[in-house]
Amino acid sequence: MTTNVRTGLADLRKELESPKPDLERCKKLLVQLKIALTQLAGLQPAAELTADAVSELELARDVYETAVHLSILDEDIPSFERHVSLVKTYYFDYASVLRPSPRAGHLLGLNLMRLIAQNRIAEFHTELELVPTELRTDSHVAYALRLEQQLTDGAYATILSNAAVVPDASFRFFMDTLCVTARKETADCAERAYEVLDKATLVRLLALKDPEEVDTLAMERGWVVSGDTVRFGGDDAGEAAVDLELSMDLIKRNMEYAKELERIV
């Protein structure tokens, strides 16, 4: 039975590692593998932890780890979450029984990345607490940790410029989501922090591809583009409206005071 699973897993891995994996075929293989797993004795509830069972548990862990990679390639987030939570059981609950997986750091790092990309920071910290100390130095986990710190500090430009450098190709999927967020945040910050910026700098700050994108962005956000510089004075019209509103408020209040005073006197 185990040999079946082993060959199936090898097949799946080979397909995934090929330059152009056939995802549909991979999913079929995975379903077959999962069905095969249910028949392993060591995976039954309340099974004894014999040497055989341990190797079967490790096999199951390998299958689910591969499933996580498949979900990433497929860009299927719910399936990713499901498989990560399956794998976590093997990492933490069986920590004393199984040999540590060489891919543990990679997967946990990916999971942390997902939480950052989805802006679920509270859950990020909850998950981080679970990551054992020896794994925190793992390049994948450390990468996610550094990203989170840069995000809280506000070093969006650094994130954007380093976006190309990921520890593994599987990180790119989440990194893309993150870049969109970072770009938006940078634009927000730039609006408030600068009065004028030249186009070239803005292109570099936002890690845009060409100056034309600045124009479209300026249209959306109401920036004034004049020649080579961008002026963030888009607020002027807004401020006037605020001023008017303020004056109206003041007038209303003073009228009220007058009315009340009249009643008292």
Binding site: E129, E191, A193, Y194, L246
Partner: protein
Amino acid sequence: MVAADVEMSDTPAKAVAPAAEKASAAPPTAESILAEVKRNVATIDKAVSAKDMRLLSRVLRGTTRVRHGVAPAVLASLVRSHVMDSDAKKEALAALTALPSPASTSDADVGMDVGADVGTDAPSSPCTPESGAYLLLLAVMLTVDHRKNAGGSALAVRVADALVAHLSQLNRRTLDALSARAFFFYARAHELAGSHAAIRPQLLVAYRSATLRRDVATQATVLNALLRNYISFRLYDQADKLLSRAPFPETRSNNQLARHLFYVARVKAVQLDYSEALTCLQQAARKAPQKGALGFRTHVAVMAVVVQLLTGDIPDRSTFRVQEAPMREALAPYLRLTAAVRVGDMSAFVDTVEQCGASFDADGTRSLIGRLRHNVLKTGLRKLSASYSRISLADVAERLLLPSAAEAEAVVAKAIRDGVTEATIDHEGGWMRSTDVGDVYGGPEPSDAYHTRVTFCLNIYNEAVRALRFADGAAEEESVEALRARLKEEQELAQAIADGEVDDEDDGDDY
């Protein structure tokens, strides 16, 4: 964290016990302890027959003294004569005989005395399960106390297991208070032996039956044991889910409430809900016993300091000026940390984290402190923009230990957007220019503040006028009603305070 947390429960009790003994006129002798245990057994029997639970809780309150005074041999003979035959009794006896007797000359005599004594009155005293449980509980406490000996913790686990199994067979409401204690020591013994991952199912079962039987004491204790269990494995997610599903019983001892609040605070702090965590910690500090329970209070104080820093506040200097030396020492690294955060000194912060890393790790606050970096950054930036009207971004990067001027630029930009500082960045010149805080009186704030006050005054005036106008019978009747309601409320409050005090005295030894 686990190691330090463990100490929280026991050290204070031990540290305080000798002090308490010194304070009382005469240290308890072996004889007086023996007499007390016997008296307690009799009181419990009486409590059970009279169904008066106050007597029982009075006995439990005095457990600490007995626990530290009674010799294993003495207890063994009491167990032999008073407890119904059961597996728990066998285990307890085996454990007690394995424990070394304290080296005291009169010990042998006392042991013999007891033997003779007991020999005569054993047949005449039919013992209730409650007093049996009390003696067995004492046996568990003794074995837990002797965990330092070889195999001590394994022994404690076996006795506690047997006791819990024994108690779960008996379904008597009079046993509730005792079984709560039994579960506490059951969880504790397993934690000391390192086998506490495996007891979660049992605790969950115990929680369910306690809830069904409306046994609030056990319910509260077991819930706390579960939370502690989850937190010690950093399973904050599970702890949070448990918290959201399992309400903490409203009638419970203050000590359990304090513990519960502490665990809630830990979960909330991890989930970035700092203000909620801080409220819980402050309440926990208030509910914890004011004398004793030093370990617990230290933990609460440490957590409170870290969480308060995370909320952006700076704790009072008086927080660190505590009477008890061990607590002051434990807080010392946090004092350095606070100093660094207060002035926004990044290098001092990094140094502190490096040098005191071990104690932060032991307290389990390391990851929370890691999050403080951002606060230091913000404060540092605020100081810089306050002191310089113009400063180059390279200097900012240097002061705040940022890797590059470009990163400093981004950090400053975010700070400006978040309203941390009032400044603009000149990208060409590569500097940050603090904009003067504009004329405060030019903005709408003064008029807003003025407006709230005026509205308040006008409302008072209008209400006063209205009250004068309608001073008739209807209003009077209403006020009588209100008076009655207030009196009733006051009575309830007084009652609640009295109850609270009773609870306060309750089980001080658990900590």
